[in-house]
Symmetry: C2
Subunit: 216 residues, 2 copies
C-alpha cells in the first residue's frame, strides 16, 4: 500500500501541476507563463516539475492533451434521446455551445490557434478529441434520418460539419476573441434556434414535430 500511496501522491501532484499550468498559461499565454508562477500555484517544487515533465514544453503538451480529452469529452457522445429530430438537433446544439463557450474551452482553442505552429501535435490532438468525434456521431445520426426518409442528407459528414458551423456561427468568434461578452441564456437559445431553423431547411426536415421521432 505504501508504494500505492506514493504514486497516488505523485499523481495528485502531477494533476495539481497540470491544473496550475492550465490556469497560468490560459491566462497569460505560453511564452509569458513562468514556471515559477506555475509552481507557486500548484505547490510542490520546480525540481518535481522537471522530473515529471522534463521541460516547459513537456508540461505544456501534457497539459493541453489532458485538457483536450477532459473538455471535449462531452462532445463525443451527443444526447440523441429527445423526441423528434428537431428536438434532438436542438439538444445537440445546446450541448455543443455549452462546451464551446466554457471559459476553459475558449482558452484551449486560443492556445491551439496560437501555438499550433510551434507544437503541431496540438491541433491534431484537439481535432481528433473534439470535432472529429462529434462530426462522426452527428453524421451517423443524419444518415439515419436520411435512410428513414425524414430528411435529405446526401453527404452526411459535410452536412454534420455545416451543422456545427451554423450553430456556433459568428457568435463564437466574437466571444472567443473577446469583442463581445458571453451571451445571456435567452440570447444564446434564440441564436441556436435560428441556426437550427436554417439547418432544418438545408436537410429539408419537416418543420413540425411529426417526423423523426424514432428516426435513428
Amino acid at each position: 500500500m505504501a508504494e500505492g500511496e506514493q504514486s497516488a501522491k505523485m499523481a495528485a501532484r502531477r494533476q495539481a501541476m497540470l491544473d496550475a499550468a492550465a490556469a497560468v498559461i490560459f491566462e497569460v499565454g505560453y511564452e509569458r507563463a513562468s514556471l515559477a508562477a506555475i509552481v507557486r500555484r500548484s505547490g510542490g517544487s520546480l525540481s518535481t516539475l522537471y522530473q515529471l515533465f522534463g521541460s516547459k514544453e513537456g508540461l505544456f503538451e501534457a497539459m493541453i492533451v489532458e485538457r483536450c480529452a477532459c473538455i471535449m469529452e462531452e462532445l463525443s457522445s451527443p444526447d440523441l434521446s429527445a423526441r423528434g429530430a428537431r428536438a434532438v438537433l436542438l439538444a445537440i446544439g445546446h450541448a455543443f455551445m455549452r462546451v464551446l463557450l466554457a471559459p476553459d474551452a475558449l482558452a484551449l482553442w486560443r492556445m491551439v490557434m496560437a501555438e499550433g505552429i510551434k507544437f503541431p501535435r496540438l491541433p491534431q490532438i484537439f481535432f481528433s478529441c473534439g470535432p472529429d468525434r462529434l462530426h462522426a456521431k452527428l453524421a451517423e445520426y443524419l444518415h439515419g434520418l436520411d435512410q428513414a426518409g425524414y430528411a435529405r442528407v446526401p453527404e452526411p459528414l459535410f452536412t454534420a460539419k455545416s451543422f456545427c458551423m451554423l450553430v456556433h456561427g459568428d457568435l463564437y468568434y466574437r466571444v472567443v476573441t473577446g469583442v463581445r461578452p458571453q451571451p445571456e441564456p435567452a440570447e444564446l437559445a434564440a441564436h441556436i434556434e435560428r441556426a437550427i431553423d436554417m439547418f432544418c431547411r438545408i436537410i429539408q426536415l419537416a418543420p413540425a414535430g411529426e417526423a423523426g421521432d424514432s428516426g435513428a
Copy 2:
C-alpha cells in the same frame, strides 16, 4: 522637395519595418519575435524603430492595424456583377475564401486569437475591418433578393453571417491550424459549391438560373 523626400524616405522605412515585423511575428509569434531580428530584416536601426513606434507593443499594434486594413480590403466591396443570384453568391464565396486562405490572413487571424487577450483593440479592429463590413454588404444584397421575391431572407444580417460560416466551414479551421494543407483549387471549388447549395436551400433560392438576374 527636400522635406518631402525626407518624410517619404522615412515613410518607406516605416513601411519596411512594418513588413519585417509582420514577417517575423507571423512566423514565430509576438513573444518569440525579437526586435533585433526585425531590424535585421527591415534595414534601418533599432533607434529608428523606437523613434517610429515607441516600443515593441507599439510596433505590433501598428503592424496589425495596417495588415487588417490591407488584407481585408477586398472583402469590403464584394463583386455583385455576376448574372444570377447563385452566381453572385458563388463569386462572393470564392473571393471570401481566397482572402481567408492567403497565408498572411491565416497568420493575422492566428495573431488576433493569440494576442487578443493582451491587446483587446486588435480583435475590435479586425472585426470592423473585415467581417463587419462584409456582413453588412452581404446582408444588404440578401435583403434585396428578399424584396424582389427571389428568396426568403427574413433576417438578412444573421443570414449573411451564416453564409460566411457555411462557406469557410470546417476547411478553414483545419487549414488555419495546420492539420491539413491548403486545398487544391478543385477541392476548394467543390467545397464552396456544396456550401452555396446548402445556403440556397436556406434562403429558398430557386436552384436554376432564371431568378435574380438583376435581383439587387
